[in-house]
């Protein structure tokens, strides 16, 4: 089909229209607000990571977005269609793929039977290509599948009709590292093709590798939405080093240094700290000492996000 290769991704929807629009979404169960006044906009072709601890409301948001549950107040729309209105929702779902957390299929069916059913309803132009990539054992009954195989079948089912938007809830949980990496690569390729993807996760290292933007949800409220790289820049580097001897108190006391630890180790002193300042200043500081060892690492996103959902959970 024309326009479907990596060099010329098909235009998924008019660039002016957001692929996913959530406006003041609230979902209450009695007194409990699972989601509270959530407003979020995901652009066409974006890969958006939706982060938060268990119970934060990520799955509720996703299920409302897909029309499995209805909001208490607020709206959710996909590709310009209001997902609370059935006729509009059905139009949107033709172009949407969904992978729930813990996908479940009829245990007595084979993978092939399930995919045949899905194909007969929503289409399956990419089915063979995805089966080559993810290889669930389609001839066997699903009750014999391992978690990884169920997830693979779920991925095939979610993408087989070449949707414009794919929503995934914890897509890598239960996958071995090899499969996780294959999934990440797949997401990057999909991004090249212009597919919009929303996925919730608490595997932060994956989010950092594939997402454009990240939203953090905590107790039903959206705490922040940021570009992944901005977050990483803000979080700085972790520095570990060793110098000979016993430097003075004010060693490495520069702008941008925080969380300093130091300890003696034989004839050397070790330091570890977070650094968000100018790297040149740090290099200048090294000249004063006999540097024996130096490790520089990106701060893990965990540390950054703990500031968003760490404090009152302790």
């Amino acid at each position: 089909m024309a326009g479907r290769d990596n060099l010329h991704p098909r235009v998924r929807c008019p660039p002016s229209m957001a692929a996913i629009e959530i406006d003041r979404l609230t979902k209450r169960y009695g007194d409990l607000a699972a989601v509270s006044d959530l407003t979020l906009s995901i652009e066409s072709g974006e890969v958006f990571g939706y982060l938060g601890p268990n119970g934060a409301g990520k799955t509720t948001t996703i299920r409302i977005l897909l029309g499995l549950q209805s909001p208490t107040t607020g709206t959710a729309s996909v590709l310009g269609h209001d997902m609370t209105v059935e006729s509009q929702r059905l139009d949107a779902l033709e172009r949407v793929g969904y992978l729930p957390s813990n996908p479940r299929f009829d245990e007595q069916s084979t993978g092939r039977e399930v995919l045949d059913l899905h194909e007969s309803i929503k289409g399956g132009e990419r089915r063979d290509e995805l089966l080559d990539l993810f290889t669930p054992p389609v001839e066997r009954e699903i009750r014999e599948y391992s978690t990884g195989n169920v997830q693979k079948l779920g991925l095939v089912q979610a993408f087989m009709h070449d949707p414009d938007v794919v929503v995934m809830d914890e897509p890598t949980s239960g996958l071995d590292p090899l499969l996780q990496e294959r999934f990440n690569e797949f997401v990057r390729d999909e991004r090249e093709r212009g597919t919009t993807m929303l996925f919730s996760s608490h595997v932060l290292s994956e989010v950092r590798r594939v997402c454009d933007r990240v939203g953090v949800l905590r107790e039903g409220e959206l705490v922040t939405v940021e570009d992944v790289h901005d977050l990483l820049d803000r979080s700085g580097k972790h520095i570990r080093l060793r110098v000979a001897g016993d430097p003075p108190e004010n060693a490495f006391d520069l702008d941008g240094v925080s969380d300093v630890s130091r300890w003696r180790d034989g004839g050397e002193t070790a330091f570890s700290f977070t650094f968000t300042g100018d790297v040149n200043d740090l290099v200048a500081e090294f000249e004063a000492y006999d540097l024996r060892e130096l490790d520089v690492e990106e701060a893990p996103l965990e540390d950054v996000f703990l500031t968003f959902y760490g404090e009152s959970d302790a």
Partner: protein
């Protein structure tokens, strides 16, 4: 069109065959039993000794003939009670089972309306109902001929055909519980209790001055004894059952349209 119904029906083939074999065996068993009743048993005395409610419940008024005997043993007992309760139970798992196991999530992400999901799941049960009736009708015809007390094919066709609206209604009762409950076991218990409860209710009130209350029970509209022994075919009753089925399925679809899953 009807992809979900066809898929569902395919999944039920094995169960339908098992049910057909089981009920056929039941029919053969009772057919084999009949000759000793016909010759060595004073039916009139037996029936007179029973409370009228009991006679009414199992259509025992014509127990002495093969038609009356089958009407009681096969059609009142196995069809009205066993198969009616079983279909209500089976249909009760249709939606609630998928909701409980979270299979419904992937299903509802397909571009199919909620109403279509409910209706097609219900329709998946229909071939099973037809198959069981076709198989057992044939087996019963053969069995009664084999024992030397043949039942006319027209009688058997009539009773099986007229049982179908009744069985459809029982399944529709199961479906209604299935869309309202969130757990299959709750729906199944509710559906079975309702069908059996309606049977008991209809039986008990029919012997009283409040017999008209029994109009709410589907059993009121299917009388195998009348069909087999008197050749009375109540098409209006069948139409009422079909209407009740349509109402129950439509109401179930409408309810499911609005609920959170």
């Amino acid at each position: 069109m009807l992809e979900l119904a066809r898929y569902g029906a395919r999944k039920r083939v094995r169960g339908a065959l098992a049910l057909s074999v089981g009920l056929s065996a039941f029919s053969v068993l009772y057919a084999a039993f009949y000759p000793s009743i016909a010759t060595g048993f004073d039916v009139a005395e037996y029936v007179d000794a029973l409370p009228p409610v009991f006679v009414e419940a199992f259509g025992l008024r014509a127990f002495g003939t093969i038609e009356g005997f089958l009407a009681t043993e096969l059609y009142h007992f196995a069809w009205i009670i066993l198969l009616g309760v079983y279909l209500a139970y089976s249909a009760a798992g249709l939606v609630a089972g998928d909701v409980e196991s979270e299979r419904m999530d992937i299903l509802l992400a397909l571009p199919v309306s909620r109403g279509r999901v409910v209706t097609e799941k219900y329709l998946a049960v229909v071939p099973e109902i037809l198959l069981v009736n076709a198989v057992v009708a044939a087996v019963t015809w053969l069995a009664t001929h084999a024992i030397g007390y043949p039942v006319a094919a027209t009688d058997l066709i009539a009773v099986h055909l007229l049982s179908i609206p009744y069985l459809l209604t029982c399944a529709a009762i199961g479906l209604a519980f299935s869309v309202a409950a969130s757990r299959a076991s709750v729906a199944q218990r509710g559906a079975m209790a309702t069908v059996f409860g309606l049977f008991l209710f209809e039986t008990v009130v029919s012997a009283t001055d409040y017999a008209w209350l029994g109009a709410v029970a589907p059993m009121r509209y299917f009388d195998p004894t009348a069909i087999l022994t008197e050749n009375t075919y109540d098409f209006l009753a069948a139409a009422i059952l079909l209407a009740a089925t349509v109402v129950l399925v439509a109401a179930s679809a409408q309810y499911f349209r609005r609920r959170d899953v």
